[in-house]
């Protein structure tokens, strides 16, 4: 990419000497130092962030080796017994593995298909509103749910949908119809989660897209109107392309987290009647790892999840590059 062209320039600029191998090494060194010194402030800016990643991400990551051990806090990482892939074998041979995989992917795909595009559509709709007062009030209202915690949303869901207390069932009953169980029905569980996620985050999700739209030069619209382009065509040819970069990055990142499902949400919504469709990797890791204290086993599962995430992101990024879209790196 443009990176290489930059590199090329600097090579031209600072490599006057002939290409004897020995000299080249010293030259490279000499080139390095001035570069570093020139950009010392940039490194200074980057430093706190890098330190953060080293201390709070890399050091804990090294502890992932306990996934290959029979870790005991008393013996520590150095003293604990190495067991190789034993925990992975135990996990993959567990009949529940496929259930967990199915539920995790199912919930994530529902999110990807219905939840991911929702804020994009909403942002497009809001961008078409001309009345500033209305735009602002709608904006302010739809952001609110984002600020609520999952516990509260669980409570509200119960108030709305439960069979004996729920508003919906009370209305059904009042109109002489029989009540429906929504919360303890396995068929509705994934849908319920998706609805909750959309309700909570869709308004908030528009922020990033509206910011991207804000970057569009109004002249572009004016020119398009001159050319006789209708609303949908303007949306399609001007607004959407302006968001493309952001959409692509968000999409790739979301693929990377496909193995993650909002733990707190699923955990709160889960009940005995829906376990079969509700148990996901995150809840399983929590139950087995934290509650039953099997740290090595749960670390191994976490590792498996991460590896799948990495593979997905790399693949998606490759695909995006091939399609000529903006990519992550």
């Amino acid at each position: 990419m443009s990176e290489t062209s930059m590199g090329g320039q600097s090579e031209q600029r600072s490599a006057p000497g002939k290409s004897a191998p020995l000299r080249e090494i010293t030259l490279k060194k000499r080139r390095l130092w001035p570069d570093l010194r020139r950009d010392k402030y940039l490194y200074l800016l980057a430093m706190p962030g890098l330190l953060f990643f080293i201390i709070f991400k890399y050091i804990p990551i090294t502890n992932l080796v306990i996934g290959f051990q029979d870790y005991s806090p008393y013996l520590g990482i150095m003293g604990s017994k190495w067991v190789g892939f034993e925990h992975f074998v135990r996990f993959f041979s567990n009949p529940d593995f496929w259930m967990l995989l199915r539920n995790t992917l199912g919930i994530s795909l529902m999110n990807l298909v219905f939840f991911f595009p929702a804020p994009i559509i909403l942002a497009l709709m809001m961008n078409e509103v001309r009345n500033q007062i209305m735009k602002r009030s709608v904006q302010s209202l739809i952001y609110i749910p984002h600020f609520l915690s999952w516990v509260l949303i669980y409570g509200l869901t119960y108030l709305m949908f439960s069979q004996s207390e729920g508003l919906i069932n009370k209305l059904l009953e009042a109109s002489g119809k029989s009540t429906v169980d929504i919360l303890s029905n396995p068929h509705y569980f994934w849908g319920m989660l998706t609805v909750q996620s959309i309700w909570k985050e869709v308004g908030w999700g528009t922020i990033i897209f509206l910011a991207a739209i804000a970057g569009v030069d109004p002249q572009q619209y004016e020119a398009a109107v001159m050319d006789g382009a209708g609303r949908f065509r303007r949306m399609w040819h001007i607004t959407l392309p302006a968001m493309r970069n952001v959409i692509m990055i968000l999409f790739i990142l979301r693929l990377g987290t496909i193995m993650d499902t909002g733990f707190e949400q699923v955990y709160l919504m889960m009940n005995a009647a829906v376990t079969e469709v509700a148990e996901v990797f995150d809840t399983y890791v929590y139950r087995v790892g934290i509650r039953q204290g099997e740290f090595s086993y749960s670390t191994a599962i976490g590792l498996f999840k991460s590896v799948v995430g990495v593979v997905l992101v790399v693949l998606a990024n490759k695909a995006a590059k091939r399609l000529g879209q903006d990519s992550l790196y």
């Binding site: 980057a46 962030g49 709070f56 709709m125 078409e128 302010s140 749910p145």
Partner: protein
């Protein structure tokens, strides 16, 4: 763009607006319900079936909460996190993102890869706990800020915004003899104000809602942020606990707060962070203008 509107345009605007209004109302109803409950007399809550408008208004819940030292204290802690934490997060994230957005920087690619790796591998809870403990941060409010300063996500997204700023501007500033820090401070930050504000809000909400780290790293009750106190009021131990001890836990003399009190706590916990938004909305607009004026 003062152009005559066709009937198609009108129809579109009408249905678009109508849909949005309906949608916002659906969004807001549960919140309305929460607020109403928080002002309802507790006895009425338990005896009436469905309360859309209380017969007896009551301020008891609010009076109780605002008179409670622990509650007020936790609000202060959360405010501290949301201000100082957000600021630090913006500096750290912005600094790193800007550095890696400068293409000529050496080790740029290395840093990128380093960031990418971290955001994909989630370190477990126990290792993180050990790091925080070794830094001596247990029971310090900094344990709620430092480990969640930024994430690979945020750095990459912010870098994306910086990338969209034309290099020519930065070059011009450099030629004028600005150091990288002043370029960052005077050119980049103001130009990406919408992004900065948006990220600021992301961070602020994150800090305001800090919960899980707090239950792990903070023991002293007077350093609890609001969400921990709230969770303590909203969730009963037996539902989270269960198992062998469930029966005994049920037996303990624990009084759960009344429903109306819970709702009032929720309202107090939600309103401050919501109030931040209209204040920032102005900046969104300004930022957008700067964006349109540039070049």
């Amino acid at each position: 763009m003062e152009l005559s509107l066709t009937w198609k345009d009108r129809l579109f605007s009408l249905s678009n607006g109508g849909l949005l209004i309906l949608f916002s109302l659906a969004m807001v109803f549960p919140i309305y319900y929460t607020i109403v409950l928080s002002f309802t007399d507790p006895t009425e809550y338990y005896t009436r079936d469905l309360i859309l408008w209380p017969h007896h208004w009551s301020l008891d819940a609010y009076r109780y909460l605002l008179g409670n030292g622990l509650f007020v204290n936790s609000v202060l802690i959360s405010l501290f996190l949301a201000t100082v934490g957000t600021l630090l997060s913006l500096l750290v994230t912005g600094g790193l993102a800007y550095a890696i957005s400068v293409r000529r920087l050496r080790f740029r690619k290395t840093m990128m890869v380093m960031i990418l790796i971290t955001f994909l591998f989630t370190p477990g809870l126990v290792p993180l706990y050990m790091v925080v403990r070794n830094l001596g941060l247990i029971d310090s409010v900094w344990s709620l800020i430092l480990p969640s300063l930024t994430s690979g996500w945020y750095v990459l997204l912010m870098k994306g915004f910086f990338d969209s700023i034309p290099d020519s501007l930065e070059e011009a500033a450099r030629i004028d003899g600005c150091t990288e820090i002043s370029v960052f401070w005077r050119i980049i930050i103001p130009l990406s104000l919408p992004a900065v504000v948006a990220f600021g809000l992301f961070f602020a909400v994150g800090y305001w809602n800090t919960y899980f780290n707090a239950i792990m790293f903070i023991n002293e009750q007077n350093k609890w942020p609001l969400q921990v106190l709230l969770q303590n009021m909203l969730v009963d131990p037996t539902t989270m606990g269960g198992g062998e001890n469930a029966n005994i836990s049920v037996t303990m003399n624990r009084q759960m707060p009344t429903e109306t009190l819970k709702m009032a706590a929720v309202v107090i916990a939600t309103v401050p962070i919501m109030l931040v938004y209209p204040f920032l909305q102005k900046h969104f607009a300004k930022g957008a203008m700067v964006g349109s004026v540039k070049e």
